[in-house]
Every structure is written in structure tokens, then in C-alpha cells.
Amino acid sequence: MLDDRLDDQLRDAAKDYNDPPETPRDLMWERIVAERAEKTDRSSVLPIRPLRHLRPLWWAAGIAAVLALGIGLGRLSINRTPLAAPAPIATGTTPRVGNAAYQVATAEHLSQSEAFLTLFRASVRQGGNEQLASATARQLLATNRLLLDSPAANDGKTRLLLQDLELVLAEIAQLTPQPRSRDLDLITEGLERGGVMSRLRTAVPSGPSTTQGAL
């Protein structure tokens, strides 16, 4: 057992651990402004149509959400059978086994996230209980962070999607047992405003499993 003197010494010494210099405020601010301007320029090349134009079609969106929920749950639970021929992964070259593994893992994760978020959104609309959502979001968040840290995130589009997904999952993970409906609405609005759901669906391969056999 260590004596109290060492505890005090440790506490004092810890204050000097990686002692930060003065914050380079102006330098960082200039870079932030430049980076945000660049991102705005990039996004203006492919403008996303505001979803408010689709408001009259909410009932159709509801049906689509239910269908997507079924598809998502099916993807989560289906006993997958190998395809006759492995579906190619659009890289332009034959992927190495390591890269293919990351692609498979990414596709699986995005597929599960899509199913989860669809279920979450449908549940919010029906006034369901979100207690289980928080636990599932934590699990998906852990996988998401691993993928962000892997070669799967080398692709810029995938990285941006994983980063946006991370924030959404983190928000759901932090929901209290009795979340305010306004909080839930903000999360679901955020999903739609950022185009996360549509980007997820674009990123998730269609069919039973296009990643099956990639290895």
C-alpha cells in the first residue's frame, strides 16, 4: 500500500503532465474558417434537396420507414447463404484480403446502424420507449469508433458518414431513461437534415449480402 505522501506527490506531479502552452487562438480560428469554407464549397457542388419539400408525403415516408424496418431487421437476423459468385467491391482493383475484411465489417456495421436508426425513428414517431435504444447505440458507437480508426475510414466518403453517424449514435447513447420528446425530435430531425439515413442507405449494399464472399 502506498503512503499518503506519494499520493500527494502524484497528484502534484500530474498537474505538469503534458502541460499545455498558451492556446494559439487566432491561428486555429483562421484554419477553422478556411476548412469550413472549403467544406461549404464542396457540399454546394451536390446540393441536397431540403426534406421539408417532402412534408406532404409523411404518410408515405411512414410506410417506407416500416418497410425499411422490416428489411433492416431481416438483414440483422437473416441466415445468410453464400452467393453463387462473390459480388465485386467497387475499388477498381482486386482488393487485398485485409481491405476486403474492413469493407465487409463496414458494410455490416452500416447495415446494422441503418436498421437500428430506422427502428429508432419509427419508435419515436409511435411514442415508444427508448430505454433499449441507448444500450444498442453504445454498442454501435463502439464499433463505429473502431471503424473510424481503421483503414475503412481511408475513403473520404465513408469517413464522413462514420463521423456523422458517430455523433447521432452518441446522442442516442446519452439519452436518459425518460427522454424529453423534444430531445428525441431533435435527434430524428438531425438524422434527416444531415442526410444520414439516405447516405446510410446508399452506402449499404442492397440484396441479401453483397459483401458475402468478398473474402
Binding site: 505522501r5 503532465y17 492556446t23 452518441a170 446519452q174
Partner: protein, 177 residues
Amino acid sequence: MDDQELIGRVLAGDPNAERALYDAHVDRVFRLVYRMAGDLDRAQDYTQETFIRAFARLREFRGEAALSTWLGSIAISIALNGLRKVRRLRDREVALDAVPPMGRMTPEAEPDLKVRLAQAIDGLPDGYRAVFVMHDVEGYTHEEIATSLGVHPGTSKAQLFRARARLRDALADFAKE
């Protein structure tokens, strides 16, 4: 001006409010990521990325936690992800060059407690190190840490307890001096 008012002005497109929000929180964010990274360039990158992502997502800030806590959760997530990448790259380089691992100096080469402690903190698992730095070095509460890391406050306390125990073990010979 409080955070809510500032956020409202930022969302209304006021560039001065953006800068004011940044000025109000940048020190705390920078301090945290610098403590984690121990490197000026990386700390700047992580701080910039934190604010870029925060501004992009500000509309989704629910106000349940303080804005500083929300920013802290983005910052620590970016820092941990970034540091994992750096470590992996460094490990690969070390393996290629067959250089002996760093951070294992002989007792004669260890000048004082601070150096030894820094090495011991560097050697903690990411989760323990984040909790230790946030609580014991930067003074975050367990509630703030829990919100930032997406864990329960009890988990934060347990990780801090284990982190301190590891540091005590690593520096036990100082107790004998």
C-alpha cells in the same frame, strides 16, 4: 451573454457569435486535447476538428448538458481516435526499424517523479488515461466525464480508481525512498 443566447445567434448566422463561442470554449478544449496528445500540432488539429464538427452539428445540441461538456465529448472522441491512429502508425514504424520500445528507461536514467509519472500515464490504456487526465489533471467532474465518454458516472469512478492503482504500482519504488 450565456451559451444559449450565443448558440441562438450562431444558428442565426452571426459570424461574430461564432467567434465569441469559440473564444469562450477554445482554451478548455485545447487544454484537454493537448494533455491527451502531448504534441502541439496534433492538439491544434484536434481542436480545429472539434469546432468544425461542433459548428456543423450545433443545431442538434439539446442543452441537456453544458455546451462545454458537449464540446468536451466531441474533443475527447476526436483525440482518442487520432491518437489510436498515431500509435498504430508508430508501432508499425518501430516494427519495421526494429527499434527498442520507448518509455522503458532504466532507473538510473529516470531523473524524477514527474518524468516517471508522465511515462506511466502514457502507458495507461486509453480509457483510463482519458478519465485520469480529465479528472485529476483538468478537474472535470465524473458527471462531465461520463457524458463526454458516453459511460455511466460509476464507470468513470471505477476507471479512475484503477488508473490511480496502476500509477501507484508503476511508481511504488518512490514510496520506499
